[in-house]
Subunit: 335 residues, 2 copies
Amino acid sequence: MRIRALIVAYAGLLAVFIAYVYHYQHDVSRIQSVNEDTSPFYGKPDEKYVMVTFQSGMDYWKRCLKGFEDAAEALNVSVEYRGATQYDVNEQVTVLEQVIARKPAGIAVSAINPTALTKTINKAVEEGIPVVLFDSNASGSKAFSFLGTNNYSAGVTAAHEMAKLLKNEGKVAIITSPHQLNHQERTRGFVETIYQKYPRMQVVAVKNGKGDAMASKQAAMEILKDYPDVQGIFATEANGGVGMAEAVKELNKKEIKLISFDTEKQTLDLVKGGVIAATLAQGTWNMGYWSLQFLFHLHHHLTSPSRSGDSPLPTYVDTGITVVTRENVDHFYAK
Amino acid sequence: MRIRALIVAYAGLLAVFIAYVYHYQHDVSRIQSVNEDTSPFYGKPDEKYVMVTFQSGMDYWKRCLKGFEDAAEALNVSVEYRGATQYDVNEQVTVLEQVIARKPAGIAVSAINPTALTKTINKAVEEGIPVVLFDSNASGSKAFSFLGTNNYSAGVTAAHEMAKLLKNEGKVAIITSPHQLNHQERTRGFVETIYQKYPRMQVVAVKNGKGDAMASKQAAMEILKDYPDVQGIFATEANGGVGMAEAVKELNKKEIKLISFDTEKQTLDLVKGGVIAATLAQGTWNMGYWSLQFLFHLHHHLTSPSRSGDSPLPTYVDTGITVVTRENVDHFYAK
């Protein structure tokens, strides 16, 4: 009887074991299928996406890259950051060619000017490498999308903010870089909004600040000399903001409302100190994040089901503008 | 000895079993952690996203909904389609209120007009329900983003296409709905492009087609009577396209180049038959797909790391335009 009892126990154990093994295989395949079949948003760590900029050491790119990296982490892929170290067209073309030669899964490019990179970008696309543009467009190229600030809208936002600061009344001026398209558009958005929406306001001067703090300071001095009743100045780029702040400090005219652009540390300090009333922050994290999302979608064929000639992705993404004042400035210092 | 042999076998089997169970638990937790820790793009099937339209039976919405559904499938969440059956403001407000009451994970709304839904949309956002707008905007609302066609750009595209058809020379006319903003913008993009880029072309008439095929036919007849040398007509909406096609057939003036809008079956048939030279397809799949992606990002807090007042998502997505001609028309029939 002992032997029979052992055999029965033995058989029972075997049955449990078999049942368990069956259950295990079933479970594992179910879990694996959940992971593999239903999450297309899961790449391979050796799948590399490259961000290419110019003046690659600028603070401005940091938050673009952070968005790019955050998306890469979420999608389980790798990123690399490359760029021309200088403001040098040929250097950026060379860097981009080197990146293409290594056949990455996708490239996000900020173009140093609207035409110089077009040929190189088109070569990448023709070789089957997904390319999107961010921050600065090359609209004649075959890149699939552009993600950046709508500069006209940014100018409109600046105008509304200026009107709020001046209670819808008074003379204002602009310091800009008149030869760059993005600055022309910021200027146009500002001027047209003041003209159309604020009849008791007037833009009395538009000066060339040459993208330089010293030249912009000089421009601001001239404005304040020629129009002593000017009550506000909008600078369409960061160095212009620093320059006009210096002019206002030197002339001890701190009552003049200044609006600047971007969120360099120097600008933020001037906002915090109350010299600059507001500055406009671009949606840089969104530029990087959605650039990588778009490239991943192209690489994995997750875009619009192909119709001949159909745009596989949205052609333009406006990443938005945020008004930074003393109240929220602390959130904008790099962490 | 037989008993001892059985006991040894028994012990061995038990050891294998224990080892197996251990291995199984380890494996399952490893696989689950791959899935749970590394793919944030994996929702719950009971997580429901709702698309809300007006004239909800229109063919036009089908491809928007397809994009919405495709994104939902990829993200493992559920969708629901609701809408006002008629072109009725109050009905859409009521439908939207009913949807909000059920606290979905997110809502994508196409607004019947720019203002009527603002209060209801704001209520949803204040209650913590993510809302984006697609196709038709309500720009004063608290919705997080708008995804749709840039109608001015669509008009620009139509102008370039018309110039190509007419070899940059000749008189053209427009049939539009002058009281609707999107049609005003399509008209403006067309007129300004012809004026600025094609000095040997001229827009000689802009007529009200009332969004109706009969009225548009009448408008086209008048244009062709008043300006017998008109060589092309651009209709900014689908019924206008059908109407002008009828006029051209009736007057046996098939040499006149017609450009229409959207991809209703009747329009596609006219393109296939060579009566309409080209029609403009909107990026409807992208509207739906990226609306759901954006809502999912908001619901799961995957958006831009919060800076006070910062826009968590891109504020505007231009979903693009595709020119449909006889060559690619077959791809645009609903499948």
